[in-house]
């Protein structure tokens, strides 16, 4: 790989774009000072970013931008290097590698960009690519003037670090650093494990003690199990023995049962025999006539019944006969009466007929008179007929006129009235209209006032509704409360009743001994101090344990608990003096304290220690301890029997089993003493509760009533308001429609008024007409009256009026007579009707009599029949009675025999019964024994399995039971001494031990790890040193060679501390030809340059790179040395491309071509190139 071309744009003195081609050989760049030779090297440094360790000749990057022409300074600079990569030294698959760097200056600063083959990359990327082609800053690819002198002036350590970098020591340092941090982590872990270890060890130490104790305890427990096993074995043996004896017992009982059975059978047969003969006899008796006797008796009874029934019928018939007679008599009397009446009526009729006749004749007489008068009047009348006719005509005319006038007056009145009415109507209408107008005017204000009222009402309703809600919720709450209270109350009342019953029962049945009674009585009267009461009084128990605990306490129930022994002595003295008997006193100050007992509650059926089931004040504990000791309460006798041996037990039903094995039990026999103390207290408390709840309930109910009252009130109020609202709403509607309605009304009224006015006018017209007519009629009537007066004067002298008067009188008389005739005729008719009715009645009565007679005859006949039947029946009865007495006599003997037999049978039955009772008793006993046997068998199995569990052979030698008991007791004591024991300690000790082991192994692992890391670090050190030494040796060898070549002298690189090179630096030791070994500082400039260049060349030789650029490295060399350096470069060109800036003739001569640099224009470098043959 080599540089093919460098292109500068605006870089330093390259004002334009300048391309410089290069070849893979030795090129010098020459030209006068200040013409820009070194800027080419700077450009290479710039584009490759190799300026990190050595400074480029510019203060700032922006100074690199061309600045020749002040007027138009460009804002960027760019340098591009094209590498030929045909040998693929750069691992990129292109013939050419192009690297570009560009800096751009902006107002805010400058920006630097790198491009690799046209792609934007970072400086690091560029470095990485270059490093792959062995181009590195430390490799002295680009050597500036200053670099040469700096190698001389830098400290030895800095110089050594150049070797470090070339050797790649940093890599080992990094690895070492990582290892060290790993080491730190491991160290921390070890520390932590150490802390935990310490803690766990302490824990283990602590647990060890507990574990030892637990192990001891376990051993004791095992022994105890064994010894308890011995006891069980003893019990097993006992049980077996008992079983054997029970088997024997059962055998003997079974044989005696058999005997009993035989006897029973015998007796039964006897009895049955007797029963049979008794039955035979009874049958015989029945056959012999008992049946007949009974039948006859029945017949007699029925006959007698029939007779009496017949007699009753006869009586009834007699009574009916009497009745018929009386009715018949009454009918006859009636007939007589009616006949009288008929006669009377006949007389009256004839009388009336006479009267009719006379009246009729009178009437015809009058008629004759009238006719005579009539003829006379006719005569007279004919004379005055004309006048009278006229008069009559006039009179009629007057009359009609008057009538017409009257009619007119009435019409006038009517019209007047109508007019008045119309006027009133007009007034009414006018006032109505006035009213309507004022109403219409006021409707707006009315509406607003009504609406205001409505709003008020709605508001009120709202607030009331809220009130109701509150009240309702209050009510619901109260109801809940009341319900709760009532429930509680009921519960308490039930409790009260129950407890009261119990207390009463307890009190009624409490029968202390006389002595105790006296003591308690005396205590009540404060006669004896220090007395607390009896055990029964002081303890209270759950009802279900009452029986068991009562039995367990036994006679000690009435032991009297006293404060001190002195009090007891005083009480005893009291009893003695009164000779009242004996009593037990329990002085609390001297009583034995309660001893702890082990819990047996895990055993089947065990309820607990009796003393634990009684409630009492703690100070009374010694007294109750005395009473109950270690008595156990067990649920059933069966369970108790399983536990038997060494335990005092009482069952819930009251069976008592003593430690000795004695068993007490049977039917309940109330000792009369039971615990009641707490019940009484409870009773008082419950009573208090009841009172409390009762008053609370009534208070709540009162409150509820009040609330409900409120609710009703509020509802009523709301209702009223609602009504008011609907009224008001109607009012509003009414008012709203008022205007229109009123307008209509006014219109209508106006129409009415007009009509009325019209009709009034009409009426007035009519009125005027009528008045005129009236006047006319008046006048006409006056003229008629005058004429009548005149005619009447003419008629005054005639007798006609007299005759008329007479005729009228006769007419009157005739009318009177005619009425009379009608009356009499009616009377006669009525009388005839009465008569007909009476005759009909007589006929009816006759019919009745006839039917009664028939009835009488039939009754008589029936009576006769019945009498005959009675006679017949009486005969039958007599017969039957005779047969009956006969039968009685026959049966008497046999019945006597039967009585005897019955007695015999009863006796036999009694004997049989007694035998059966005995038999049943025996079989019951047998069953009890069998039950016992079953229990024992079960016990044996259980005990055997228990033994098996405890690992004891039945054949094992068993120590004496007393020895066993003592041993168990001592084991228990030893165990108690050890308590409390943490049995978990055994496991915990093991667990903690395991954990300790685990931790230790972890610590070991960590330790190993640490060792390994340390080892690795050491290795890194070695590797690092090896790498360094290799590089150092390689470079040193090259240095010695090159220094000799360049100066003919001897030189070498010397480590300050060859054993530990990193502790010291690197010194260049040089001895130029024919000179003594010199320190660098003492060398001439040329010598220094030579030495430094030798170092640079040796690095190049040890690690060759593809190209090198040197900037006037031969400046300070004399001619000969310059030639040697040039020769050196020329030699190296075989391996690499060299671009060397130089003004020295030997260097230019050595190069294959020369690039000339000049500054022909101001500040712009111009390039020319010459290839010399």
């Amino acid at each position: 790989m080599y540089i093919k071309e460098i292109e500068f744009i605006n870089f330093k003195s390259f004002g334009k774009k300048v391309k410089i081609p290069f070849y893979d050989d030795f090129t010098t760049i020459s030209g006068p000072n200040g013409s820009g030779k070194s800027n080419i090297i700077d450009g290479i440094l710039f584009v490759l970013g190799l300026s990190s360790s050595r400074t480029m000749r510019a203060e700032k990057l922006t100074d690199l931008i061309y600045n020749g022409d002040k007027a138009k300074k460009p804002d960027f600079a760019q340098v591009t290097i094209k590498f030929d990569n045909t040998d693929r030294e750069m691992p990129v698959d292109t013939e050419e590698v192009v690297i570009t760097r560009k800096i751009r200056e902006t107002d805010t600063g400058y920006y630097s960009y790198f491009y690799f083959n046209g792609k934007a990359v970072s400086l690091t990327d560029v470095h990485n690519y270059l490093a792959k082609a062995r181009v590195t800053p430390e490799g002295y690819n680009v050597v500036m003037q200053g670099d040469v002198t700096r190698i001389i002036t830098m400290t030895p350590v800095e110089r050594r670090k150049i070797i470090d970098e070339i050797a790649g020591v940093a890599e080992f340092d990094n690895k070492k650093d990582r290892a060290l941090s790993e080491l730190e982590i491991v160290r921390e872990r070890v520390e932590r494990v150490d802390i935990i270890l310490e803690e766990v060890a302490a824990q283990l130490e602590k647990l060890k003690g507990e574990r030892d104790q637990a192990l001891k305890y376990q051993a004791l427990k095992g022994e105890k199990v064994q010894f308890e096993g011995f006891m069980i074995l003893a019990r097993l043996k006992d049980a077996r023995k008992e079983l054997v004896s029970i088997d024997n017992d059962m055998g003997s009982r079974k044989s005696s049962m058999k005997e009993l059975e035989a006897t029973l059978e015998e007796r039964r047969q006897l009895m049955e025999e007797l029963e049979r003969s008794l039955e035979d006899l009874t049958l015989q008796i029945q056959r012999m006539g008992e049946d007949e006797q009974i039948q006859i008796k029945k017949d007699i009874e029925s006959t007698r019944g029939e007779i009496s029934r017949c007699k009753d019928s006869i009586q009834l018939a007699d009574r009916e006969l009497a009745d018929v007679d009386s009715r018949r008599r009454k009918a006859f009397v009636d007939i007589d009466e009616i006949k009288g009446k008929v006669t009377e009526l006949d007389t009256k009729i004839s009388e009336e007929k006479v009267r009719l006749e006379s009246t009729k004749s009178e009437h015809s007489e009058k008629r004759t008179q009238r006719m005579i008068l009539q003829s006379r009047i006719a005569d007279v009348d004919a004379k005055f007929a004309k006048t009278r006719d006229d008069l009559t005509q006039l009179k009629n005319g007057l009359e009609s006129t008057r009538n017409e006038k009257n009619e007119l007056m009435r019409q006038e009145d009517r019209l007047l009235d109508a007019l008045r009415r119309k006027s009133a109507e007009v007034r009414d209408i006018e006032s109505e209209m006035e009213d309507a107008r004022s109403k219409a005017a006021s409707s707006d204000s009315d509406i607003s006032s009504v609406k205001y009222d409505l709003d008020k009402l709605n508001e009120k309703i709202n607030s009331l509704t809220k009130d109701i809600d509150d009240l309702e919720s209050n009510r619901a709450q109260l109801k809940g409360v009341i319900k709760d209270l009532e429930e509680s109350l009921r519960k308490y009342q039930d409790d009260y009743a129950r407890i009261e019953a119990r207390v009463r029962a307890a009190e009624d049945h409490s029968k202390y001994s006389k002595a105790v009674d006296m003591i308690i009585n005396e205590k009540k009267h404060h006669g004896l101090p220090g007395i607390y009461g009896t055990i029964a009084e002081l303890g209270s128990v759950d009802q279900k344990y009452a029986t068991a605990l009562g039995i367990a306490a036994g006679g000690k129930m009435q032991a009297v608990v006293v404060d001190t022994d002195e009090d007891a002595a005083r009480a005893i003295d009291f009893l003695k003096r009164r000779q009242a008997g004996r009593a037990t006193f329990l002085p609390l100050n001297k009583m034995e304290e309660r001893r702890p007992y082990k819990s047996l509650s895990d055993r089947n059926g065990v309820i607990g220690y009796a003393i634990d089931l009684v409630d009492f004040e703690p100070r009374f504990e010694p007294a109750f301890w005395y009473v109950f000791r270690d008595t156990l309460v067990v649920d059933t006798l069966q369970n108790a029997r399983r536990l038997m041996g060494g335990l005092r037990m009482v069952t819930l039903e009251g069976e008592l089993i003593e430690k000795s094995g004695a068993m007490v039990g049977g039917s309940a026999q109330n000792s009369g003493l039971s615990f009641a103390a707490s019940e009484k207290d409870k009773l008082i408390k419950v009573a208090e509760k009841i009172t409390e709840f009762d008053s609370r309930r009534s208070a709540s109910i009162k409150k509820l009533d009040a609330v409900e009252g409120h609710i009703a009130d509020v509802n009523r109020e709301i209702n009223e308001h609602d009504k008011e609202i609907s009224r008001k709403q109607m009012q509003v509607e009414e008012i709203a429609g008022r205007g229109e309605r009123l307008a209509q009304l006014l219109e209508v009224k106006n129409g009415e008024l007009n009509e009325i006015e019209e009709s009034r006018k009409q009426l007035r017209n009519e009125m005027e007409a009528v008045t005129a007519q009236k006047k006319e009629k008046d006048e006409y009537a006056g003229s008629l009256e005058e004429k009548i007066d005149e005619l009447e004067g003419e008629l005054a002298g005639s007798e006609v009026p007299e005759l008329n008067r007479q005729a009228e009188g006769i007419d009157e008389e005739m009318r009177r007579l005619e009425g009379r005739i009608r009356d009499v005729e009616a009377q006669i008719n009525a009388l005839n009707l009465d008569r007909e009715y009476a005759i009909g009645k007589i006929e009816e009565n006759r019919e009745l009599i006839k039917s009664l007679d028939e009835k009488k005859a039939s009754h008589r006949q029936r009576v006769d029949e019945l009498t005959a039947k009675i006679k017949e029946l009486e005969i039958v009865l007599t017969e039957k009675q005779a047969r009956e007495s006969e039968l009685v006599k026959e049966l008497k003997d046999m019945q006597q025999q039967r009585l005897g037999m019955q007695n015999e049978y009863a006796l036999s039955k009694k004997q049989f019964e007694s035998a059966r009772t005995r038999f049943e008793e025996s079989s019951r006993q047998l069953m009890a024994i069998e039950a016992t046997q079953a229990v024992l068998v079960e016990q044996v199995t259980e005990l055997s399995s228990e033994l098996l569990r405890r690992g004891i052979e039945e054949t094992d030698d068993v120590p004496g039971s007393e020895a066993v008991r003592i041993r168990i007791a001592s084991i228990e004591k030893a165990m108690e001494r050890l308590e409390p024991v943490n049995m978990r300690a055994i496991d915990e000790f093991n667990e903690v031990g395991a954990r300790l082991e685990d931790l230790r192994s972890r610590r070991d692992t960590l330790f190993n790890e640490r060792e390994q890391i340390l080892e690795r670090i050491k290795q890194y050190e070695v590797l690092k040193k090896d790498a360094f030494m290799e590089t150092y040796n390689g470079i040193n060898t090259a240095f010695q060679e090159i220094f000799n070549e360049l100066s003919d002298g001897i030189g070498e690189l010397v480590l300050d501390d060859p054993a530990e090179p990193f502790n010291g630096g690197l010194t260049l030791r040089a001895q130029p030809k024919e000179k003594t070994l010199q320190r660098l500082e003492a060398m001439s400039g040329g010598e220094k340059s030579l030495t430094a260049l030798s170092f640079v060349f040796s690095i190049q030789k040890y690690r060759p790179a593809p190209f090198y650029a040197f900037d006037e490295i031969d400046m300070f060399l004399d001619g000969a040395n310059a030639a040697r350096v040039a020769e050196r470069v020329k030699k190296s060109v075989e391996n690499a491309q060299f671009i060397v800036v130089s003004l020295r003739k030997p260097m230019i001569e050595a190069a294959s071509r020369t690039i000339g640099v000049a500054m022909q224009e101001n500040n712009i470098t111009s390039i020319t190139g010459v290839k010399f043959r």
């Binding site: 410089i20 081609p21 020459s30 030209g31 006068p32 200040g34 013409s35 003037q145 200053g146 002198t149 400039g1085 040329g1086 220094k1088 300070f1116 004399d1118 001619g1119 003004l1143 020295r1144 003739k1145 230019i1148 001569e1149 071509r1153 020369t1154 690039i1155 000339g1156 640099v1157 000049a1158 500054m1159 022909q1160 111009s1166 390039i1167 020319t1168 190139g1169 010459v1170 290839k1171 010399f1172 043959r1173």
Partner: protein, 84 residues
Amino acid sequence: RVAITTDEVLGIAHEEDILGRVARLNHVLDSVFEEHESVVFSELMGEDRSENIMTYVSLLFLATEKKIWLQQEELFGELFIYPS
């Protein structure tokens, strides 16, 4: 920078004598330019490679001093020299 001693500078000057060469070349070129408008570098070259090199360097000095103008169509091609 390491100071350059007088001896060293004198040593180089003595041996290579650039300035002398420049002055002499300037003189030569002045007379050439009296007859010719320009001259090419190949005409100035002789047999001695070393002398040719020094001539080229001297031309660079003269160009920088703006006494002549160097022009090249193509790098490493023919170099034309004009009076400035």
